[in-house]
C-alpha cells in the first residue's frame, strides 16, 4: 500500500528476504496518473535505494485499453445489469478526478479514462446517447477534470431521468469513493432531485473477472522471467 499499512517498503523487504532477486510491480490502477501509479512506484524505488543488493525490477504499464480489461468490465457489467429490476435510461462511467492543470502539465490520465469509457460503451453495444463519462471526488477550489459526476447526476435527475446506473471502471477495488461517495451520496443527489431507480455497479474487485485481468497482466509482464 502506498499509504498506511502494509507499507510498500515492508513488502519489498519481505520479498527480498525470501530470495526474490527479480520483482514485478503491478500498480492496480488501470489508468496512469502521476498521483497514483507514479507515486506508488516512487515509494517502491525509495525502498530499493536503501538496499545493498537490489533486485531487478519491472513495472507493469497502465492497462486502460487492454482488451482483457475491457472484456472483464463488459462481462462484469452485463452480469450486474441483468440482476437489476430496471433498465437504466442513462449510464454514467465515473472516474476519480484530478486538477485540470495536471492534464495541462502532460498527465495522460484524462485521455486514458476517455478511451476506456469509449471502448467499454462500444463493447457493450450501448448507444452513445445513453452513455456519459464524468469525473468525481473533487477536492479544493481549483477546476478539476469535467464534467463533474455529482453535478451531472443532479442535472440528469432534474431533466427527468428516472433510472440511472453508475459504474467506476478506474477503481480496481471498491473503496470510500465508490461505496460511500457514489452509492450513498450520489444516490441521495439523484433521488432528492426526482430520480427513482439508482444502482452503482461494483468494481471488478476480487471477482473472477478482476483476477483474469491481473493474471493476464502478470503473465505478460513476467515473460522472459518465467
Amino acid at each position: 500500500m502506498r499509504y498506511a499499512n502494509p507499507s510498500t517498503e515492508s513488502r519489498i523487504n519481505a520479498l527480498k528476504d525470501q530470495g526474490c532477486d527479480r520483482i514485478l510491480l503491478v500498480p492496480l490502477y488501470p489508468h496512469y496518473a502521476a498521483a497514483t501509479s507514479a507515486t506508488a512506484c516512487d515509494e517502491a524505488f525509495r525502498a530499493l535505494m536503501k538496499m545493498r543488493w537490489q533486485p531487478a525490477v519491472r513495472v507493469a504499464p497502465s492497462y486502460h485499453d487492454d482488451p482483457v480489461y475491457i472484456d472483464a468490465l463488459a462481462r462484469s457489467m452485463t452480469a450486474s445489469l441483468a440482476k437489476l429490476d430496471f433498465e437504466p435510461e442513462k449510464i454514467i462511467a465515473t472516474f476519480h478526478g484530478m486538477p485540470e492543470k495536471y492534464l495541462q502539465k502532460g498527465d495522460p490520465y484524462h485521455c486514458q479514462c476517455l478511451k476506456t469509457s469509449r471502448l467499454l460503451c462500444e463493447k457493450l453495444g450501448i448507444v452513445p446517447d445513453r452513455w456519459l463519462t464524468t469525473f468525481q471526488s473533487r477536492f479544493g477550489n481549483d477546476p478539476w477534470l469535467q464534467p463533474y459526476t455529482d453535478a451531472t447526476v443532479e442535472r440528469l435527475a432534474k431533466d427527468g431521468v428516472k433510472k440511472l446506473v453508475l459504474i467506476a471502471p478506474g477503481f480496481s477495488a471498491d473503496c470510500l469513493e465508490t461505496l460511500e461517495e457514489l452509492d450513498v451520496e450520489n444516490r441521495d443527489i439523484f433521488e432528492n432531485n426526482g430520480g427513482k431507480k439508482f444502482a452503482y455497479l461494483p468494481a471488478l474487485n476480487d471477482s473472477p473477472e478482476g483476477i483474469d485481468v491481473i493474471e493476464a497482466i502478470a503473465r505478460r509482464e513476467l515473460m522472459g522471467w518465467i
Binding site: 498506511a4 519489498i12 503491478v26 460511500e180 493474471e215 503473465r219
Partner: protein, 123 residues
C-alpha cells in the same frame, strides 16, 4: 508472491562459502501488487495520520509547500479526520477491522497466487 526461477533455487551448495558469509537468498521472482491504501482505523488519530501521509505526497498535491502546509495542518487536518472517519465507519469491514480496499486487494493477491500456482509459491 514469489516464484522460484530454478527448482533448486534454495538448494544451493554453500560448502565452499567462506566462514561468516552473510545469508544472501536469491533465485526467486516476486510479484507485488500496489494499491493506494486505507487508514488503520476510523477514529481521529488513525484518520489524521492517513490523511496527513496522503495529502503530504507531492505527487498528489503539487501546490508549493509554503502555500499548502498551513492549509493542510491548520484547516484540513483539524476538520477532515472526523468527517472522513465517519464516512469510513459506514463502509468498514468490522470483522477484520480494516477498510474494504485492503480486504479486496488481499483477496486479489491470494487468488492470483492460486492462478499462478505451479510456477509460484505464496509467502
Amino acid at each position: 508472491m514469489t516464484a522460484n526461477r530454478a527448482a533448486n533455487a534454495f538448494d544451493i551448495d554453500r560448502s565452499h562459502w567462506p566462514a561468516g558469509h552473510p545469508s544472501a537468498p536469491f533465485g526467486r521472482i516476486g510479484v507485488l501488487l500496489l494499491n493506494l491504501g486505507t487508514p488503520d482505523g476510523t477514529s481521529y488519530w488513525p484518520m489524521r495520520r492517513y490523511l496527513k501521509e496522503f495529502l503530504s505526497d507531492r505527487r498528489v498535491i503539487e501546490e508549493p509547500r509554503w502555500k499548502w502546509w498551513p492549509i493542510l495542518n491548520l484547516i484540513i487536518l483539524t476538520v477532515r479526520p472526523k468527517k472522513k472517519g465517519h464516512d469510513y465507519a459506514s463502509i468498514w469491514n468490522t470483522e477484520r477491522d480494516e477498510g474494504p480496499l485492503k480486504t479486496i486487494t488481499r483477496s486479489l493477491a491470494e487468488q492470483l497466487f492460486e492462478r499462478l500456482a505451479g510456477s509460484a509459491h505464496h509467502r
